[in-house]
Amino acid sequence: MALYETVIIVRQEARAEGVASLAKIYSEILEKNNGTVPRWESWGLRTLAFPIRKNLKAHYFMLCIDAPHSAIAEMESRLRYDDKVLRYMTVRVKEHNSEDSAMVPRRSSEGDERGTRRRSERDEPIAGKSDDESEATPTPADNNNQSGESSGPSEAVLEKEQA
């Protein structure tokens, strides 16, 4: 059988346990079709680099799969019609990593470092760009960013909301 990795992006409304149950549902679909899921990992709630169907944040998880193609096709056909799933991507891999990938959030530094670690400088312009269609962009969370060019429009949004 072939080894795959499937990354699935789920709407923000789904809680952490909802993500776990989705992972279980899709693992069972694979197992019914002669596949196995030796491991899965949750990447947690992440800010998207650009809005997907007006969602700015989403839960990510990845299934490490050992299954025939027919099982993958079955799982993908289900994923296509699942409204909780924003996007998915299956990749064929040569081997599975036994430990967590770099995407799994570190438990100790999760709360305080989340905004500054990887994405803050990338998110800011997108938040500024999308403020014409939805005013509820998470700009207050990005206040620590020092780039003056893109913090201007976000402050304007805040003032508009207060007025």
């Binding site: 680099a49 650009f50 990887r118």
Partner: protein
């Protein structure tokens, strides 16, 4: 000034002192999940940095470009930064 004859390859090798950061055994491989690695190879605008600047070998540059495009599809990296 002396008119030393420098062949094309010589000039190139002297300028290209850096080697591919992915080609040594044990060096990290391009992977769509390794954002910290990929972010070194995209510009401020979010474009993939050409290999003539980053000195990534042609084979690894193809792998790197594929990894960046996968990460973009998953909204881990932006298509454009404005």
């Amino acid at each position: 000034m002396s008119f030393q004859v420098i062949s094309r390859t010589q000039r190139r090798t002297s300028r290209w002192h850096k080697t591919c950061p992915f080609s040594k055994p044990g060096s990290p491989q391009p992977d769509y999940k390794d954002l910290r690695l990929l972010q070194r190879y995209i510009s401020d605008q979010g474009k993939i940095i050409p290999s003539r600047i980053s000195s990534v070998s042609p084979k690894k540059q193809r792998e790197l470009a594929a990894a960046i495009k996968r990460a973009r599809f998953l909204a881990l990296l932006p298509y454009v930064n404005r």
